[in-house]
């Protein structure tokens, strides 16, 4: 493992851990077993204390952690028999969106996810998870495949936003997102949406309409990133912490707002600390959510999905 990114609030834990490591080496010559056990206990306590009391901005940082499992990791580890399918059959293959056919515990399904890179090179290839219109159109044609063969759909949201560039505009970024959203309101197969990292704005909801919306514990989902919100409303990049607080963008917030259905718990310290544990947790929840959806008559499923989103929002009727 290379050098890992250590976030500020993780430092006390990392320090204690390395101290334990040192003591273990010493333990070979001195009898300090008891102290090591005590310290280990302390680390556990510290860890749960820190991770249970993260600020919203700290959650945003965790959501962006470069070691976090990404769409392809979940697809490869939660599903079996994955065959990646490329291209939108219109213009090109957008590497910022991945998808294909797969099985979940033997059930054939379609998986689509927004894909970030793991290092500079792969991030350039994946455009940091910011898709062009063809990414949305690739997702759409995979959705159509699911509809045609009556297979459930799983989507994984992890994007800092749809790409704001010249070509993206020329090829109709707005239309591509709008088309996906309305189509996802029409598909008659079950759709389960999982926010696994960043869920930024229209770029995220472009593959984010479904029957069940799941959100991993350390992720965020909102109309804008805290940085951009800060730059627009505070006219400075320096208010990202305040913006994150104001936007109320964590899984817990969105559950309270009635926007998501389920918070998927992560191993202590985040999904990246124990990815294998994370895959098992997610697999179980996905199966639990999928089974009841598969027995709902199609018409009812679509109506329920539309009503779910139609009810979203808060207003006063005078």
């Amino acid at each position: 493992m290379g050098t890992k990114l250590i976030l500020d609030f993780e430092k006390p834990i990392i320090e204690l851990e390395s101290k334990i490591q040192e003591m273990r080496q010493l333990g070979e010559t001195f009898d300090i077993q008891e102290e090591i056990i005590n310290l280990e206990k302390k680390v556990e306590e510290l860890r749960s204390q820190i991770y249970q009391n993260l600020t919203r901005w700290q959650r945003v940082q965790l959501a962006r952690h470069p070691d976090r499992p990404q769409s392809l990791d979940y697809i490869n580890n939660v599903f079996t028999d994955f065959i990646e399918l490329h291209g939108d059959r219109r213009y090109r293959d957008d590497p910022a969106v991945v998808g294909g056919i797969a099985k979940l515990d033997g059930i054939s399904c379609i998986v689509v996810g927004q894909q970030k890179g793991k290092d500079t090179k792969s991030n350039l290839l994946r455009n940091f998870g910011m898709s062009h219109p063809e990414g949305y159109r690739k997702a759409l044609r995979l959705f159509e495949l699911a509809e045609k063969f009556d297979k459930p759909i799983f989507t994984f949201l992890d994007t800092p936003g749809a790409y704001p560039g010249i070509e993206a505009e020329e090829r109709g970024q707005a239309e591509a997102i709008a088309r996906n959203i309305i189509r996802m309101c029409q598909l008659t197969v079950p759709i389960i949406v999982v926010i696994i990292g960043e869920g930024a704005s229209g770029g995220a909801i472009g593959i984010g309409v479904g029957d069940r919306i799941l959100m991993l514990e350390n992720t965020w989902y909102s109309v804008i990133s805290p940085e951009s919100c800060s730059s627009i409303l505070w006219r400075s990049w320096d208010f990202k912490e305040q913006a994150a607080e104001a936007l109320k963008l964590t899984a817990k917030d969105l559950k309270e707002q009635g926007i998501i259905d389920i918070i998927v718990p992560e191993p202590i310290g985040g999904a990246h600390r124990k990815p294998d544990e994370m895959y098992l947790i997610l697999k179980e929840i996905l199966l639990n959510e999928l089974r009841p959806l598969m027995s709902i008559p199609k018409k009812e499923l679509v109506k329920k999905r539309r009503d779910k989103f139609i009810q979203m929002g808060v207003w006063i009727t005078e």
């Binding site: 709008a178 996802m184 539309r306 989103f309 979203m312 005078e318």
Partner: protein
């Protein structure tokens, strides 16, 4: 004693004539000074360069609908402040000052109307109300008027003008993209004509949902239409954007608009279009 004596009359000091306030206006596009009454007669377009000035719902009602036919509906739906959002000032204060300065109750006005005697459901967005931004109320009023069109089996026409989703309602605003699209899916199933008129500017969450989902999508000349705003794009790609980028003509050329109609011809063309359905 002076060496020279002025033999001719001194040049008189000219008293600078102030432009009488509110009588004249300058075209932001070509610089032409336009007499305001003439501008009004031209439906707020420049007689020289055809620049379409941004206008409000009140003006569109006069230009497009049968006189006196518009009846506003769903005025009882008002913004809440579900997140207690505070930036440089609290959201509730921002709303209050907007009600006062614009005289409007939200970034969208909805109602029933007639065009050439035909009943329609009508909505028009107000860009001067927090940038025409879409929050829960815009979503709900859009839903209600669309539902009205569905129940009455009449066409639904909307005039869009929006910078995008309303930040002060965060994720709730984002969900309005899905909410408005969900009801449009119903309309589509019941063959209710849905006609969109995009005006300057239509970007962000509105273009990425109901703005781009019309059976027929019309734009006014020169209207800025896109997903990302030009400033965001410039910051991202770190270069200047080409002339005419994201303008209606550009969007039409790239295949995302059905047609561009001059404001003067809007009503007449809408009548022809409505007659087709």
């Amino acid at each position: 004693m002076t060496w020279f004596l002025r033999t001719k009359k001194n040049i008189e000091e000219t008293i600078q004539k102030e432009m009488p306030d509110g009588l004249w206006t300058k075209c932001p596009s070509c610089g032409e000074i336009i007499y305001k009454r003439q501008l009004e007669e031209n439906l707020f377009t420049c007689h020289k360069c055809n620049h379409h000035f941004r206008i409000g719902t009140k003006e569109y009602i006069d230009i497009i609908l049968d006189p006196g036919s518009f009846e506003e509906l769903f005025t009882n739906i008002k913004s809440a402040d579900p997140l207690n959002f505070v930036d440089s000032k609290p959201y509730t204060q921002r709303l209050e000052s907007m009600y006062k300065s614009t005289g409007l109750n939200e970034a969208i006005t909805t109602g029933k109307a007639k065009i050439a005697g035909k009943d329609i459901a009508f909505a028009s967005m107000n860009f001067n109300f927090i940038g025409g931004s879409m929050g829960s109320v815009v979503g709900e009023k859009f839903y209600q008027i669309a539902k009205y069109a569905l129940d009455k089996k009449i066409p639904y026409i909307i005039i869009c003008a929006s910078g995008g989703a309303r930040m002060q309602e965060a994720a709730y605003s984002l969900m309005q993209l899905a909410k408005t699209s969900a009801i449009l899916a119903e309309l589509a199933e019941h063959q209710i004509p849905y006609i969109v008129i995009l005006t300057d500017p239509t970007t962000g969450g509105v273009s990425a949902s109901f703005g781009m989902l019309g059976d027929i999508i019309i734009a006014e000349p020169g209207a800025l239409i896109g997903f990302a705003g030009p400033r965001v794009i410039e910051q991202t790609i770190r270069r200047k954007l080409p002339q005419g980028f994201q303008r209606a003509e550009f969007v039409l050329e790239h295949g995302f608009l059905d047609l561009i109609i001059h404001r003067k011809n809007m009503r007449e063309k809408l009548i022809t279009i409505l007659n087709w359905f």
